[in-house]
Amino acid sequence: MIYLDNVAGTKPDARVVEKMLSFYTEHYGNPSAHFYPIGREAFEAMEAARGEVASFINAKAEEIVFTSCGTESNNLAVKGFLKNPKNSGKHVIISEIEHFSVDSTVTKLINDGYQITKLKVDDSGLVNPDDLKNAIRKDTALVSIQHTNPEIGTIQYTDRLGAVCREAGVAFHVDAIAAAGFSELDVKSLNCDMLSIASQNFYGPRGAAALYIREGVKVSGLMDGGHQERGYRSGSENVPAIVGMGEAARIAKAEMGIWVPELVRLQKQLWDGLGGMFDFLHFTGNKDRRRPGHVSFWIEYIEGESLLMWLSLKGFACASGSACSSNILAEDEEDLAASYVLTAVGVPSDICAGSLGMSMSKYNTQDDIDNVLKVMPETVQRLCEMSPMYNRK
């Protein structure tokens, strides 16, 4: 199978898995137990991982809080920040294309008396920094805007958005989950106060993620318990996964310079190849500011789930934002909905149907891209022939 759904998670690097193993077999101690060796070893390994993650994003080790997944990091950033008594203001700003873990968290805040502004994006998915400037009010407590959108690949002007927040004295959280390992992340030049990353998105294991909290920014933990992670996150740490995340961060920092240019090259080939194939294929997201190795588009006349199924039968793993493919495990059709990200960038919702996303990793090769370009015409043609809309053209 050719895996092209890397925004959903990457294959862990073999060195990462190797490094994790002994934390299941030998160093299985609890890092809170400092007075015997296997506890102390676990603690030291965890702190070493913290150092690697910190240096990966140009932060200090004390500014890193380990969590269990990207969703938890985003929840901690938004709710933990607003919950802290030092932070006031009842207005929160996000964009209309945030990940569910920010979007639904923030939407629910309305019940607690918050007012929410969801900034519009242009048809390439970009937030205009001037719009942010105009949306900030006296009572704005927090701005949360993602770095890279996993669905359409667009990379925001995060540094400029951060500068607007700094100037206004408003806290700025960045969901960089789809960016880590693919774009350089420097919390200082991004002007952010909090930043979420997840290990599984940059060749690390599932089960470990982090929230960067800039020194001096006040955030309250969401779970009560044993005061782990300096109270930001009670609960026994997932040491093997954290160790793996540290190794993944170390590798990414050292080797991104090798794999990113290659991803950019393959992406260009895929983009140009698909673009020249059909005049009814429309790319989504920003052509220049996009995640390396990420190509997304929608095709008129055909539906996304059937395209996804055909590609899967031919050995390709991709993603679709179509309503039909949205929630196959749902109990009824009411839970099927086209992606709000695609609607936001102007893809008409009744034809969001044919959307497809392909996201590469460092493991993809020239052959993979040649193969996709080979199967796409026959696959699309087949579905077009079946479509009652196609002939009307």
Binding site: Y301, I302, E303, E305, S306, M309, S312, L313, S322, A323, C324, S325, N327, I328, L329, A330, E331, D332, E333, E334, D335, L336, A338, S349, D350, I351, C352, A353, E385, M386, S387, P388, M389
Partner: protein, 144 residues
Amino acid sequence: MAKGPYSDKVMDHFMNPRNMGEISDANGVGEVGNPACGDVMKIFLKINDDQVCEDVKFKTFGCGAAIASSSMATELMIGKKVEELLALTNQAIVDALDGLPPAKIHCSVMAEEAIEEALKNYFKSKGQDPAIVDEMKAKIKKEN
């Protein structure tokens, strides 16, 4: 290989759809859309003088379940009388496909509705009132 959300029958009809295409001299054509996801299904019928479905073809813009439902529906229709076509429920299509996930039942409903529309169009082309289809359907429902 791990099984997906669909039965083998659904996958078979998805990969090898039966009776896909159009009938240029069809005497009944029905097209329905699905408000839940913007999908469209079109059915072409050829009914002979004995009111038997001689040929049927479909075109579908929709998910795997919608394609399989239309394909299966056409298989169940060929050689059947008009009343039998009207008695063909979406449940019969689902059963013939060895089931569909709950969120996908509406895709089979689309097939039932497309048949109904095609028959209305057929009666209209015969100069009859298409409302007869609704009456017949209501009658069948009552009998069951």
